[in-house]
């Protein structure tokens, strides 16, 4: 018969304020298997833990139940106490009577006390069936993968590489740089975005510990902390990158025109293109969907021979290429190439995308002079469609009056309820850049609230106001097109308490920051989840902001939620230091809470094999029959197999049928 000790925590007033602790203690004392029940003001304090250790040392108890707060934060420290007392640390069970009881039932003291009794009874019932388990250690592959080559991903990669670890940086575009590469200047210091970013891109490109995998996407992820097996698809570039020097001759020769993503669709690029002038690596890729196959040079075909000259007839890009990097006779696999990586940890920094203007019909998105703030960013940039000249898209005139509209798609129940956080500052920045260069421009910013929390941000705002940028509080109801490429902005000025109208030459929409496309799918491959707004969920908002529920996978930058550059970089560097911990230790403890198949009863249907997110299960032949077998090193104890097994012959240690039945029975009493 087990001898269970129950310890009930007051958590100051957190628990005792709603739960009658003494009543619960008396109740616990009488539960089957319980030999003693104590309560204490703070069980997690030193004297609280000492209580447990002493009772174990005195030989009074051999199972421990602590009724307190959440195992998420406190289970490790109580397990440690149990171990220090001299018991196997898995002979411990926790009842969460704070988060699941006293807090939500604060105004129902009687109910909270009754529920606390149930939760304690359930934990005690499970404790009777606990089994001693041994920790396992897994060797760590001393390498890391960073997904996303924006400013966050690059800093995460650089930090890890500087610590001496091998880093694979996977970026889906041909070049690293991300959204920051598109920006003209950056707040709050107005330094040129490219000027501060390019050196980082170069460092990433030349670092001996960083292997750059651009134009690549994560195909699948298997394994767990210490030993992730990642398949990365290097998309087909149709150019031999070993030979390409990035001279751009092929680009100049290409006659095809495709809307340029880097300039937010405001001008055209070629079908063969280099993403932007500072691209790293500076290599050309062929956008095969838009390639015209000039001179009938479909990829992988031999050139026709000129009937008179006897020379092969080549496509213009091939003719222009001096190094032979562009060779259309070669047979390229359109599927690209799969590269297999073994890494110990993974950082996800896939960034964001800005919302398109199209859904906002009330703001006349069909007008070329209604643009998104990111488009304005490109207009202001020296590498943009106007080469930095401030022209409006419709006729190239310099706009005299500009209206900015904030919270377009953000803080709006129709689209996103969250605040995109960076819009107030970037609108001010764009307005200031224009106003400083062209002081006679009239600039109006329509806002709901100006949110400029951040170091030096409020000063920035005040400076902009002093420059004469006009701030109007009130939501814009409509933007109408007028003759002569003019736009009428209709809004309600909350401060005046009256409708206002103004005519503008250019309207800039501060559209919302959204998760990068495909983030949810990537999350699924990694086993991490997105919140309701589609951004990746961290493990704990305050205490574990870069960790995810999957050990060994960390997140940084706008993949986790809208943030500005300083925040993205801080978080990236935090993620890299978290991701370096297992690499430095060389091996990690893996909880023995893993699944086991009762082979004798396994019917070999293979359901578990298909469902296991860690590919830890195989079918092996045993006396002519197939049976499932779980690789202990790979199993992460998620329990999917145990739940899915149609025959119910998989046991998840720590959550066995007997334990769970006992809990349910206790709850039902």
């Amino acid at each position: 018969m087990p001898r269970i000790g129950v310890y009930i925590c007051h958590c100051g007033e957190n628990i005792a304020g709603a739960v009658n602790v003494e009543e619960v203690r008396k109740y616990a004392e009488k539960l089957p298997g319980v030999v003693l029940a104590r309560d204490y003001l703070f069980m997690c304090s030193d004297p609280g833990q000492e209580l447990i250790k002493q009772d174990i040392r005195n030989g009074l108890i051999d199972r421990v139940v602590v009724a307190a707060c959440t195992p998420r934060t406190h289970e490790p420290i109580f397990r440690k106490s149990v171990e220090d007392g001299g018991l196997n640390k898995y002979l411990f069970e926790m009842a969460n009577i704070r988060d699941q009881d006293s807090w939500p039932h604060w105004h129902d003291k009687e109910g909270a006390t009754a529920k606390a009794k149930k939760l304690v009874a359930s934990a005690v019932a499970k404790a009777a069936f606990l089994e001693p388990l041994d920790d396992r250690f897994v060797e760590v592959t001393r390498a890391s993968m960073v997904v996303g080559g924006g400013v966050a991903g690059m800093f995460a990669a650089l930090d890890l590489a500087n610590m001496g670890y091998k880093v694979y940086l996977v970026e889906k575009n041909p070049s690293v740089g991300g959204n920051m590469a598109k920006l003209d200047k950056t707040f709050p210091t107005n330094d040129c975005s490219a000027c501060i970013l390019t050196p980082i891109m170069v460092q990433v490109g030349t670092h001996p510990n960083i292997e750059l995998l651009t134009y690549s996407e994560v195909e699948s992820v298997e394994g767990s902390i210490g030993n992730f097996k990642v398949k990365v698809r290097k998309k087909q570039t149709y150019i031999d990158w070993d030979k390409c020097t990035g001279c751009g001759d092929c680009v100049n020769a290409c006659p095809a025109k495709v809307p340029n993503e880097f300039n937010e669709g405001m001008d055209n690029r070629k079908a063969i293109y280099i993403e932007f002038p500072q691209a790293v690596p500076k290599r050309a890729v062929v956008d095969i969907e838009h390639c015209l196959s000039c001179a009938k040079r479909t990829i992988g075909t031999k050139p026709r021979i000129h009937s008179k000259t006897g020379e092969p007839i080549l496509a213009p890009c091939e003719k222009a290429c001096k190094t032979g990097a562009c060779d259309r006779s070669r047979e390229y696999n359109p599927e690209g190439e799969i590269v297999e990586l073994n890494v110990g940890t993974i950082i996800v920094a896939t960034g964001y995308k800005v919302m398109d203007k199209a859904p906002f019909k009330e703001y006349s998105p069909q007008s070329p002079n209604v643009i998104t703030a990111m488009q304005l960013e490109r207009i202001l940039s020296a590498t943009g469609p106007t080469e930095g000249h401030f022209h409006r898209p419709s006729d190239g005139e310099k706009p005299k009056t500009i209206a900015f509209i904030s919270c377009v798609g953000s803080r709006d129940k129709r689209y996103h309820t969250y605040c995109s956080k960076v819009c107030c500052m970037y609108m001010l920045k764009e307005a200031r850049l224009i106003k400083e260069k062209y002081p006679d421009t009239n600039i109006y910013i329509f806002f709901i609230d100006v949110r400029t929390g951040g170091k030096d941000f409020e000063e920035y705002y005040n400076y902009c106001r002093d420059l004469g940028i006009k701030m109007l509080r009130g939501r814009v109801g409509a933007v109408d097109e007028l003759p002569g490429d003019r736009l009428r902005v209709r809004a309600y000025d909350v401060d005046l308490g009256a409708p206002v109208e103004l005519e503008a030459d250019l309207v800039v929409l501060a559209t919302a920051v959204e998760p990068a496309p495909g983030l949810e799918e990537l999350g699924r491959k990694l086993g991490i989840t997105c919140g309701s707004e589609g951004f990746l969920k961290e493990m704990h908002t305050k205490l574990y902001p870069v960790e995810t529920p999957v050990k060994g996978i960390y997140i940084a930058g706008c993949a986790q939620g809208p943030k500005d550059i300083p925040e993205s970089v801080s978080q990236a560097r935090a993620a890299s230091s978290a991701a370096a911990v297992p690499l430095t230790l060389g091996k990690v403890v893996v909880e023995p809470l893993i699944s086991e198949v009762n082979q004798r009863k396994c019917a070999g249907c293979g359901t578990c094999v298909q469902l296991c997110p860690y590919s830890a299960i195989r079918l092996v032949e045993d006396k002519g029959r197939l049976r499932a077998k779980i690789d202990e090193a790979l199993c992460a104890g998620c329990g999917v197999c145990a739940a899915a097994c149609p025959s119910g012959v998989i046991t998840l240690h720590g959550f066995t049928n007997a334990q769970i039945h006992a809990q349910i029975k206790a709850l039902a009493c």
Binding site: A603, C605, Q610, G624
Partner: protein, 315 residues
């Protein structure tokens, strides 16, 4: 029927003679009118015992799991669909199986015949031109065949085998019946009424587990009903709640596997309406996951595939 019988016999004989298979599983004449019985043929000369009739109602896929030898099976639409699911769940080695596909006209439900004859003994039956002529002492009665078919055959959408190596006979046309129309009255019931109905039906259960044994998809090495550690339910049939529990779990275990062949229903010696529960589950699987069991070797059963956002949209 006669042509099909002949074709089955010839095919079986040839397969055995050429040593392509060691065993042919099919149907033989039963001892009562309108009854056929599963039959296992190992010698070419025994192939004459094989027949095709209106009583070939068992799902022969049940006999194919984990067989060591190479064998052939006579399969109608529902058998073939069960075979597809069993291949996907590694219970049948496709390379060791020859499927002799036979189109199915629907099988005759002898319980309907018994009800119709109201106590009179059936001595002879003949099916001709869509009419079943029932004969006994002092009577001869002709009934339209449709009236006597199994309920599962009436709503069947796959009378022709979906997977076969050899196809005998001409495919039969697929009825444009609403496959779930017969569930309307059950679905219209309030939860309490549903429960009352199931309790009323399952009060007759004697826990013989014939339903489980007849089902090709019930292949656990140890059924949860037989398990004693933990003991999920009582072993006695006197506990009606546990009888309902057994059938509810059985239906859920068959989610994405059940092809609605009706074998469980027919096997029940106390004529419990088992099919309503499984049929409803088939409908739910189709509505929630867009999955029909046994029609494709490639499509993963919904409970063996990770949920995708497109699947989740159904919820």
């Amino acid at each position: 029927m006669r042509e099909l019988t002949k074709a089955i016999q010839e095919t079986a004989q040839k397969l055995l003679q050429d040593k392509e298979v060691e065993l042919v599983v099919g149907f033989a004449e039963g001892s009562l009118p309108l009854r056929n019985t599963p039959c296992f043929i190992r010698q070419p000369e025994e192939a004459q015992r094989l027949v095709w009739g209106y009583g070939c109602e068992n799902n022969l896929a049940t006999y194919l799991r984990k067989r060591p030898e190479k064998l052939a099976v006579v399969a109608k639409g529902c058998d073939s669909r069960s075979i597809v699911e069993l291949i996907k769940e590694n219970q049948i080695n496709r390379e060791k199986l020859v499927i002799i596909g036979v189109p199915c006209q629907g099988m005759i439900d002898r319980k309907k015949v018994t009800r119709l004859l109201a106590g009179r003994e059936l001595l002879e039956a003949e099916v001709k031109d869509g009419q079943v002529v029932l004969k006994g002492k002092g009577y001869s009665e002709a009934v339209p065949r449709e009236q006597l078919l199994h309920d599962s055959c009436l709503t069947c959408q796959h009378p022709n085998p979906v997977l076969f190596d050899i196809m005998l006979g001409e495919p039969v046309p697929v009825k444009e019946a609403d496959s779930f129309g017969d569930l309307a009255s059950f679905e219209a019931k309030a939860p309490a009424e549903k429960r009352a109905y199931l309790i009323q039906e399952l009060s007759r259960c004697i826990r013989c587990y014939a339903c489980r044994q007849a089902c090709p998809m019930c292949f656990c090495e140890e059924c949860f009903a037989d398990c004693s550690m933990p003991q999920w339910l009582s072993k006695s049939s006197l506990n009606v709640q546990d009888n309902v529990f057994f059938q509810a779990v059985r239906a859920l275990h068959l989610a994405g596997r059940c092809v609605d062949c009706g074998a469980c229903d027919r096997a029940c010696p106390t004529s419990i309406d088992l099919r309503t529960l499984t049929h409803k589950m088939v409908k739910d699987v189709q509505e929630l996951f867009g999955y029909t069991a046994g029609v494709s070797l490639e499509e993963k059963p919904p409970l063996a595939a990770p949920l995708s956002s497109s699947t989740l949209n159904h919820f």
